[in-house]
């Protein structure tokens, strides 16, 4: 028995030596030069992607009066425009090749003839390493191999199936434009370009992600942007070796600050006008292919409370609504803990009649106050999560039913007191007023923490955790800018556009940097 095992091992080892190893590291094909013959090139590509169903190759021979040249077309079906390929590429190849005036020697001349005379479409590139070939092939371009040339032609014929430009899902405004980014990077770039026709607007391209090779673009206005921030963003993007970037949020992992914090330090938006406004204020926008969200760095806390709608209304009205939103934030953070403080520890603060009524309600309920509050809070968050995940057909009716069942019936059954439902509902509504979803999530967690501490330690604990919260917020930095900027280092300029919105005349410095970069 042992003999057979040994033989088997040797056999396996031999086989393994010949085959290329999977998963492949980038080094293998990245710098490998192309072969001279079409067949070898295509065979090499077939080693990797040959088994894929959408990998299509066409090898044919072009004839003219002087010679016959083999060419090979490789593309991924489904990512290209078939008609374009047929009409302009294959047609052009056949027709224009016969117009050759002389025999083309192998090498550069042949290549140039093909590039300039034969193919008549725009956007033709060259590639001379398999790394580049793979990148472009997998992005949806058509590769043309020519016999005798060590470079190949890349024809752009991409046609993605993508979502149309629709309304944003989470950041909707009443007035103003309502287009949002979709998953196509070029479309997104065009949406920003439409709004800023400035020659200084730069979209710098990077390829990020070891396994995914995703296209990432940094958008900024040269001259307005702070060089330090730009360098830092670049550094972090390239330094973090992320294997996969399937969405902008993975990029966020790379761009993240070192300091642990719940609060989101990179602003995201799916609205082009918000991104355009931020770029005009001197920030850097990071757009990622196949992600409808743009990340914006650096970001400060008050940004998460702003909405573009504020600039569509008059200053006074906009200020009122901003204050309302801040009130919503305060409600969502503090309401359950204040309720617990009032009920458990400091009943003196309530007027007599209210106290009397609450006491009467609470006599009949079985749970102690903090457990009751906790149960209802968790139930509410469950409802909210389920509402976002469910298909719309079931979604609305089920959450409605859920609210009625959990809320009303529990009160009727005597399980919870009605005032808890009011408190938790107000908290939830306050949270939903926050325009940015990430901040909403962060405040939910902080809310839970505060509630637990208030229940256990009373107002002393509440104030101490308030100290920790404020200190933590004051110490956060986002790409060098102070996170709590208009408040923490109190700056009068910054305050003009924070909780209230002064008229645009007074925001003279609006289109310059608002944050202070100490270094």
């Amino acid at each position: 028995m042992a003999i057979f095992k040994k033989e088997k091992k040797q056999l396996e080892k031999k086989e393994m030596d010949n085959k290329p190893q999977f998963p492949i590291s980038n080094e293998d094909y990245l710098h490998k030069g192309l072969y001279q013959t079409v067949k070898e090139n295509i065979d090499y590509l077939k080693i990797y992607q040959g088994e894929c169903w959408d990998f299509s190759t066409d090898e044919f021979t072009l004839e003219n009066n002087f010679q016959e040249i083999e060419v090979g077309l490789v593309h991924l079906a489904g990512m290209i425009d078939q008609r374009l390929l047929n009409k302009t590429v294959i047609d052009a190849l056949n027709r224009n090749f016969s117009k050759a005036k002389k025999e083309l020697p192998e090498g550069e001349e042949r290549f140039r003839f093909f590039k300039t005379r034969v193919l008549t479409t725009t956007g033709i590139e060259e590639a001379d390493t398999f790394g580049k070939v793979f990148n472009l092939l997998l992005s949806g371009d058509v590769i043309l191999f020519i016999q005798g040339c060590s470079k190949c032609l890349v024809i752009g014929a991409r046609m993605y199936q993508e979502r149309a430009v629709e309304k944003p899902t989470t950041q909707i405004t009443v007035m103003g434009s309502n287009d949002s980014f979709n998953e196509n990077l070029l479309t997104n770039i065009s949406l920003i370009r439409k709004r800023i026709k400035n020659p200084n607007l730069i979209f710098k391209h990077y390829i990020v992600g070891r396994e995914t090779n995703t296209n990432v673009v940094l958008a900024y206005i040269k001259g307005l942007v702070d060089e330090g921030v730009l360098r830092e963003v670049e550094r972090r993007l390239l330094a973090a070796e992320i294997p996969e970037v399937t969405d902008a949020n993975y990029l966020e992992v790379a761009l993240r600050e070192r300091q642990f914090s719940i609060f989101p330090k990179i602003f995201y938006s799916e609205r082009p006008d918000t991104v355009a406004n931020n770029i005009l204020e001197g920030r850097v926008a990071i757009l990622c292919d196949s992600s409808p969200e743009a990340l914006i760095a650096p970001s400060v806390f008050v940004q998460f409370l702003h909405s573009t709608e504020d600039f569509h209304q008059k200053a006074f009205i906009a200020s009122f609504f901003r204050i309302l939103r801040t009130l919503g934030l305060i409600f969502s953070l503090f309401m359950p803990s204040v309720y617990i403080l009032l009920i458990l520890h400091h009943s003196e603060l309530l007027p007599v009649n209210l106290l009397f009524s609450i006491a009467g309600q609470r006599i009949l309920t079985p749970l102690p106050a903090y457990l009751e509050l906790f149960a209802v809070m968790i139930a509410f968050d469950l409802l909210r999560e389920s509402g976002t995940r469910m298909p719309t057909a079931i979604g609305t009716s089920l959450s409605f039913v859920g609210a009625i069942i959990i809320g009303q019936s529990s009160v009727e059954a005597g399980l919870i007191s009605p005032i808890i439902v009011i408190v938790v509902a107000l908290t939830g509504i306050g949270g939903l007023v926050i325009p940015n979803y990430k901040l909403n999530l962060a405040t939910t967690i902080v809310k839970y923490v505060l509630t637990i501490i208030s229940a256990a330690l009373g107002s002393f604990g509440f104030t101490l955790s308030l100290v920790i919260l404020l200190t933590h917020l004051s110490s956060l930095r986002s790409f060098g800018a102070d996170y709590f900027a208009p408040f923490a280092p109190l700056s009068k300029e910054g305050l003009k556009d924070s909780l209230i919105r002064m008229p645009l005349e007074k925001l003279r410095n609006k289109f310059r940097k608002q944050e202070q970069y100490p270094h």
Binding site: I343, L344, S347, V352, F356, I358, A359, I452, A455, A456
Partner: protein
């Protein structure tokens, strides 16, 4: 991430701890709305508390009485309070009590320690009204139910506020001011009083709230004069009114004036400004009080309504005379009682300190009865209605 896990574990720990540390659940509190102190026959203290029964509130109230009055005796307030705990199920909660009723006999012995106890206590509100129970025991006052308010203590407080603002024979005093008056030199305390009209038995019956003809109720009565911290006498209605005038606390009161032909005219005083000045020559002290009022004629029983200057002038003079009469009456009563309820002694302390240093031991008994008072009353009748 590690930090996050650590913090989460600590917080979970807290959640469990929430049950251990001090906790005052709302339903575990027995809300006290009124406290009464009386003197028992043996000479010890009887403490009664009016408690709110939470079972009768909320969204599914049970059909029980909303208030309960419980009494216990003890040698000190603290002892009586602890004993009360043997009778009631929950913990006493003082933060909302609004009236403190002290029985008349106890008031004759001295109220300072009791007021001080409740004033210093950190749980109590700043303002609770202190009333003397007149003609009845303190705890009986607590037992009378009221038709208007669910909580009788609030009803009593409402009566007190309304009386002070509209009738002027009583006054609202924060407990800081009471303490201050008790401990300052040169002023004697005055406190409002409350009495029961009707039968006690019927008054404490819950059915009293269901009848149209209210058979028993509490009534706010006139002021009582203290010396040191013992009550010595009661002022009658005219004297209480005069006192309120002199102190400048009239907000919206009225005066009845007798016209020449004997009919009555009601004059409502809109504003009443009082200025007091002291003049001293050695130890001879003279107080000059000038009162400036503005009034409206609201009712004339003879049916006469006229805007005639003669008529208005006549009413004005009579009003001035009437106010002066009231002031003089209360002043002489105070001098007779040898209790400076107006605070003129305190004024001497503030403005003429050196003089005060000399006379302060003799002030109450010798100097005050010799003070001359001069009242100058001036005013206008600004309107004659209807």
């Amino acid at each position: 991430m590690k930090k996050g896990i650590l913090i989460s574990i600590i917080l979970l720990f807290f959640l469990i701890l929430s049950g251990c540390t001090q906790k005052k659940e709302v339903e575990d509190l027995m809300i006290t709305t009124a406290i009464a102190l009386d003197l028992t026959e043996e000479g010890s203290l009887e403490l009664s508390v009016q408690l709110l029964n939470s079972n009768s509130a909320g969204n599914r109230p049970q059909d029980v009485t909303p208030i309960v009055v419980v009494s216990e005796t003890g040698r000190t307030i603290q002892e009586a309070l602890r004993k009360v705990n043997t009778i009631i199920t929950k913990k006493l909660f003082f933060s909302h009590f609004v009236i403190l009723v002290i029985g008349e006999e106890l008031a004759r012995k001295g109220i300072l320690p009791f007021v001080a106890f409740f004033a210093i206590n950190q749980e109590t509100l700043h303002r609770f009204d202190i009333l003397i129970a007149r003609g009845c025991k303190g705890k009986d006052v607590l037992k009378i139910v009221s038709v208007a308010a669910n909580i009788p203590a609030m009803a009593v407080e409402g009566k007190l506020v309304a009386t002070t603002k509209l009738y002027g024979i009583s006054k609202i005093y924060t407990n800081d001011e009471v303490m201050s008056d008790l401990r300052s030199e040169g002023i004697s305390l005055t406190l409002g009083s409350i009495e029961i009209i009707g039968d006690l038995e019927e008054g404490s019956d819950l059915d009293n709230r269901k009848t149209i003809d209210v058979r028993a109720y509490t009534k706010v009565s006139t002021l009582g004069v203290f010396k040191q911290d013992r009550i010595i006498a009661w002022l009658d209605e005219e004297e209480s009114l005069g006192f309120t005038y002199l102190m400048g606390k009239i907000k919206n009161s009225y005066i009845i004036v007798t016209k020449g032909d004997g009919t009555f005219v009601s004059v409502q005083l809109k504003t009443c400004k009082v200025k007091t000045k002291l003049e001293t020559e050695g130890e001879k002290i003279k107080v000059k009080v000038s009162i400036n009022f503005q009034g409206e004629v609201v009712e004339d029983l003879s049916g006469e309504t006229s805007y005639d200057v003669v008529y208005v002038e006549d009413i004005r003079q009579r009003t001035e005379y009437e106010i002066k009469r009231l002031c003089e009456k209360v002043f002489s009563k105070a001098q007779e009682l040898k209790a400076d309820i107006f605070g003129y002694g305190r004024m001497i302390y503030r403005h003429k300190f050196k003089l005060w240093e000399e006379i302060k031991d003799r002030y109450e008994d010798e100097i005050f009865p010799e003070i001359e008072a001069e009242f100058t009353i001036k005013g206008n009748i600004i309107r004659v209605k209807p």
